[in-house]
Symmetry: C2
Subunit: 197 residues, 2 copies
């Protein structure tokens, strides 16, 4: 029991009718476009219409609106995580950490709906934070550990907690977001026992 019953988007590739897969791809593509312009609350009829299918087909693939949102942002998260490995090799641990943070800020800032869904607390979006953590945590943990071993930041930081905090700050967008994240990273560098009381 508790098997995933054909989760929308990913899953077993065989035994799926060609038109069904075409429709699903079309819906995802249409949703990404509509989300970018009208936000994640865009009318179902608009997305279905743009994909050239009936609303019934929409609901067949995505019974809950959150299913669609999750599927769309999963792809975006993949794109971000894939671009987060080279930095550790190019820069000093502390510098690599700071740079990855800024890159992450740009990503989150660009997707308005992502952080909204991420921080809504709505249990319908539960798989999204889970995927977010699963893909992004390892990247940050490596950077964190290297910087810690180099003595550049305080020890014992929780990568997940940091990730969530930064994504909150990043959702402000613009230079404010960049400055505040940089300030938070400076917080990591600060340790009470050194110069200031």
């Amino acid at each position: 029991m508790s098997e995933k019953t054909s989760e929308a988007g990913e899953g077993t590739d065989r035994q799926i009718r060609a038109d069904a897969r075409r429709n699903l791809d079309g819906l995802l593509k249409a949703a990404m476009e509509v989300f970018a312009t009208s936000g994640v609350d865009a009318p179902v009829r608009e997305i279905a219409g743009r994909a050239g299918v009936g609303v019934g087909t929409f609901y067949r693939h995505f019974p809950q609106r959150s299913d669609l949102i999750v599927a769309v942002f999963r792809r975006e998260i993949d794109a971000c995580a894939d671009a987060a490995e080279a930095l550790a090799a190019q820069y000093s641990p502390g510098e690599a950490l700071a740079r990855w943070m800024q890159r992450f800020v740009d990503f989150v800032s660009a997707k308005r709906g992502l952080s909204a869904a991420l921080h809504s607390g709505d249990p319908a979006y539960e798989p999204l934070p889970a995927y977010f953590d699963q893909r992004l945590r390892p990247a940050l943990e490596n950077l964190l550990q290297a910087a810690e071993e180099a003595g550049e930041i305080r020890p014992g930081m929780d990568a997940i907690e940091l990730l969530h905090a930064v994504s909150r700050l990043a959702s402000a967008g613009g230079d404010d977001a960049r400055r505040m994240v940089a300030l938070l990273v400076d917080g990591l560098r600060y340790r009470p026992g050194n110069t200031q009381g």
Copy 2:
């Protein structure tokens, strides 16, 4: 031109029919209660019904839903700002700053809808951030300046920027929010030129 035409909630107190004022108060009270349980997206009919008025009356007092939300949260902001003066006299500048931050975190964490409205970017809520800043900025600026003059934090921080960042972190709620805000305050204490490169 560009005068405020009887903004809902505050304004000139004379020439208002007694039943109209009663209805407005009832609507605000009902809204606060409904917001607490069902969130700020609760149906208009539910709020109007609880206040014992027709939906037309609701729209007469609050033409836009955002007008109601703004009116409700204005009261909440007042309550928070009023409680933020004694700390500077009781503690050292740096300590007073850190404590006020934590108190502010508690406030924002308690009101789910506030930060959502605050950070939505929707121009309909524009008066809300404005009021938020107007009431809370002076408090933080004083704390900041004192801590800066005492040499406990870096100079040149923008109070508004900091306020917005902290309210974002605070909207996470719980101990995570407290820890991350404390980390940000440590960022203020950190200055590059001292011990670490």
